[in-house]
Point group: C2
Chain length 558, copies 2
């Protein structure tokens, strides 16, 4: 009986394993294989080169994925059906907007959020006539190409699906689907970031939130501020030059990904003291725990006019490296004692007659004005003031309407942030922090555990409700969400396996919308893991392979 059930499963290897799940999908039960001369044909006037490149990569993956179906017989039972299956000669990639201007993927990827069109339709007939991918944008076509690439399995060199015809109509539930990488606590070479961008694009993540510098190191080389990376990078090769940044930003954009850089201020800036000691309060002050949440201590002298000006110039110069709409000025974890103990800050406050909160407000306004003058909108963390209340909730810092707030401390703060009227991104530590659960990392603390224990499983993030306790009006402020990798205990060594496939779980939540079923999602997510591996990304196993090949059989209730 069990053997027969397995055979059935082998013949019908679950629903088409697309990730993220499209808005609408209809599939049949007909076998279809790619013709030997299968081609992807562009029917796009003046097709931009990044679209041509995307097509070329998609064709490559169709050959190199060579992913055997994740069922017990790895597809052998389909061999008969494949012999008589029709061959798909081509996929036509069609720009559908009449009189629409054809822009490059790269241009569309960095257009203002909310204005991007990521939707597409995909039709894969069972009768041997060409498949058609249509969209009103090259960005939509790019998303659709990723979907097309997930349809196919390999059996003995034949690339096939058993579920033709396929009709898909798809667009994202949320315009922001991100991944944050911290390249300051530990450095990641450009190649690691590019590999991550590729992986992100495969699951339709459209934003890299790049927490590029922090107190520990300053790897970003900023024109006019080269001293910062010269003195602040871990070593001369642990630097992102303007050329590297351009390379990364271009690579991302060509893959439908916008890059939001972050220069966290006024806290998290200790390393600036190596180049501009006059701007940093409590630089490397000890004991660090009295002056910062983690070593080394050091914060911009936010009450100083000179430091405020320096910061504005720095942000503006950095903003020039990035073509996207958003730039994050951080704002988290401001330590009150650092400023209380800093004579200059105290004297600056006295001289100006400002309270600390007013000084923070002025500093933030100046920073954001500088970004605005560079054409950017600001992003901030929901911020701890020195009194440990939330900046956006009840302190006097005034954030412009277009400011986006990232909720990180707790998902319980979402409602309050939404009440402030700002657009928000879900990035809460209790759901989306991929680094949690790996123990304490500070020294001389044998019993230390992770502050954000436990480990965030893919299931936990997957069942998150982005609009819990929000009114409809508040819900409209939710741009989307992201998973995050802080790097105190991360490095290129564990990057792939720590991020994947968990970041894909969050990607589906915000593309397909909430309400997904972890039980049904699991086998599709296994396919993400196995397909990523075929493409050179070392995604980790979620279960024994025995379970992978027997969808449902390792469910708690099976």
């Amino acid at each position: 009986m069990q053997v027969r059930l397995s055979l059935l499963l082998a013949l019908f290897p679950s629903a088409l394993a697309l990730w993220p799940q499209p808005t609408s999908i209809n599939t049949g039960k007909t076998a279809l294989k790619l013709a030997h001369g299968f081609d992807i044909k562009l029917s796009v006037p003046n097709a931009p080169s990044d679209l041509k490149d995307a097509v070329s990569r998609a064709k490559g993956f169709l050959k190199t994925d060579a992913l055997a179906a994740l069922v017990i017989d790895r597809g052998a039972s389909a061999a008969g059906a494949l012999k008589s299956a029709k061959s798909l000669p081509s996929l036509t990639v069609e720009f559908a907007a009449k009189n629409g201007k054809v822009k490059s993927i790269s241009e569309e990827a960095i257009a203002p959020i909310g204005t991007r069109d990521e939707g597409y339709t995909l039709s894969v007939p069972a009768d041997g006539s060409p498949a058609v991918l249509k969209a009103n944008s090259t960005l939509g076509l790019f998303r659709g190409l990723q979907t097309f690439g997930q349809i196919w399995f390999d059996f003995s060199g034949t690339t096939y699906t058993l579920e033709a015809p396929i009709q898909i109509s798809d667009k994202p539930a949320y315009p922001y689907r991100g991944f944050m990488l911290d390249t300051a606590r530990n450095f990641y070479p450009v190649a690691d970031i590019k590999r991550t961008l590729d992986a992100m694009s495969w699951v339709k993540i459209n934003t890299l939130h790049w927490h590029v510098v922090d107190s520990q190191s300053f790897p970003l080389q900023i024109p006019g501020f080269e001293k910062l990376s010269k003195n602040g990078a871990y070593n001369p090769s642990a630097v992102y030059t303007p050329k590297d940044v351009k390379d990364i930003v271009s690579y991302a954009a060509a893959r439908g990904i916008d890059v939001i850089p972050e220069i966290d201020t006024p806290g998290h800036t200790s390393v600036i003291s190596k180049s501009f000691p006059e701007h940093i309060a409590c630089a490397e002050a000890k004991p660090w725990a009295s002056f910062a949440n983690e070593p080394p201590a050091g914060q911009l002298r936010l009450a100083s006019a000179a430091t405020t000006k320096f910061t504005a110039s720095l942000l503006k110069a950095a903003a020039g490296l990035f073509p996207g709409q958003f730039f994050s000025t951080g704002g988290d974890e401001i330590n009150a004692n650092c400023y209380t103990q800093d004579k200059q800050t105290q004297s600056d406050l006295s001289a100006s007659g400002k309270t600390f909160a007013q000084a923070l407000d002025s500093f933030t306004q100046a920073s954001h004005a500088a970004l605005r003058s560079a054409g950017k909108s600001a992003v901030v963390w929901e911020v701890l003031t020195p009194l440990h209340t939330e900046m956006v909730l009840d302190n006097p810092v005034t954030l412009a309407n277009d400011t986006v707030v990232m909720v990180w401390i707790s998902s319980e703060h979402v409602q309050a942030v939404a009440q402030s009227g700002h657009r928000l991104v879900h990035a809460a530590s209790d759901y989306f922090y991929l680094d949690c659960g790996h123990g304490g990392w500070v020294g001389a603390f044998p019993t230390g555990n992770s502050w954000c224990d436990p480990f965030k499983t893919w299931q936990h993030a997957y069942v998150f409700d982005p609009v819990a306790n929000l009114t409809a009006a508040q819900a409209s402020l939710v741009l989307g969400g992201q998973s995050l990798l802080w790097s105190e205990q991360s490095s290129p060594a564990n990057l792939d396996a720590t991020v994947w496939p968990r970041a894909a779980s969050t990607a589906e939540l915000f593309w397909s919308g909430p309400g997904g079923d972890v039980q049904k999602a699991l086998s599709r997510l296994h396919e993400v893991v196995y397909r990523f591996r075929q493409r050179g990304v070392a995604a980790n196993s979620l279960q024994p392979e025995w379970c992978v090949l027997r969808p449902g059989d390792c469910d708690l209730t099976a």
Copy 2:
């Protein structure tokens, strides 16, 4: 002031960063560099080829490690001292036992535990005269070569130490220092195992406990039982052929590592049902949770004479593949309901008039007798009987005196196991399980957490006391300990970063003995991470690099 302190740290980059810490070490403060033509000279009569190979690898690492000192200036402040430093022309590797027979490392590595001599002395003079490594065994020489390789840093192509002269006298506190890898839940290619063996040897781990098969897959090809791997491997290439096993075992032995294979019985054997269904009770019975701790269910019909004979033959055949002294028959997680529901087992019990416990005893005796006839001593897990008591504690299974018991369920069971009089290995889930803390993996269980939460940090294992609550006599039964990687959620993708450097922490605990100080150990452990990376093992970061380069500055109290 802080700058000056940093300079001082740069000049004296902490104690010599050896891992594991030697029994006795004296160091000076003189700079010494390797001569351009530096050589390692063997003064060993009829030097075995594995020793020659080890010397060759050691020489290679001296060139390719190229590890800059883990201090802020990466050793730049030593440049002056290096200019006038003496050059070390050579290391003489000397077999010191008078009239002693020179055996190969490989022979010595698999000699009965307790009879191996892993000690050595190492002298590195500061005056430019040759260094000398002495031991009474090639195994000791091999251990010493690893130590010698950890002495050196690189600065601009100069390989140097600042702490000559160096006198080391070293031997292990415990004869068993292991690492367990589960290659059944997910498969690891031979190359991953070899890379792991290399890494193990660098920190003087001397045992690979190879949990090679389990209920999920049977990758071990056993002569006479080829059907098991043919039907039970995940795919035809996910098989360890006898040639692969020989390759792995030889590779290990040449690196001073004994391999203890495990065929877990009578539980954890579901996969055998694909080839010998007559021997397996409750094969893939559902719901699995009623029949096993994890899917799929299936246990050897331990009350059947035929199955007992089959098992004995299987074990004996498998034992023939492995040259070492020990072979594990497992014995954990026997599910009572599986046997209660199995008509054949019930009728076998009736026919024999045996209680279940008596049948388990007979089965175990027969298995162990088969191993004994193959020249092996048995290893078992502390075992749950169907009544959830410990086999070795209060059930009637009689274990021969030479049986080694691995404590896994809890470190709290150590005392009771010791009271049974058996030699034991520390392998407790609450200290040494490297896979814990990554959430639940069974399907349809969004809130599932790891059963052995939390994640086991290196610090937690490091401060374990191997003889807590033991009398001196009981303490003498402690062979050592090991860290373990179960593979429900592990795979080649996360192998290196999950295992390293945490397994090194346990390696030092059992080589250097307990009482180590996590505060002092951290900077040495960072060096393990960075040196491993230079050698191609992707060990994970324990801290931001800022902390790595400033020993102590990220301590909780700093």
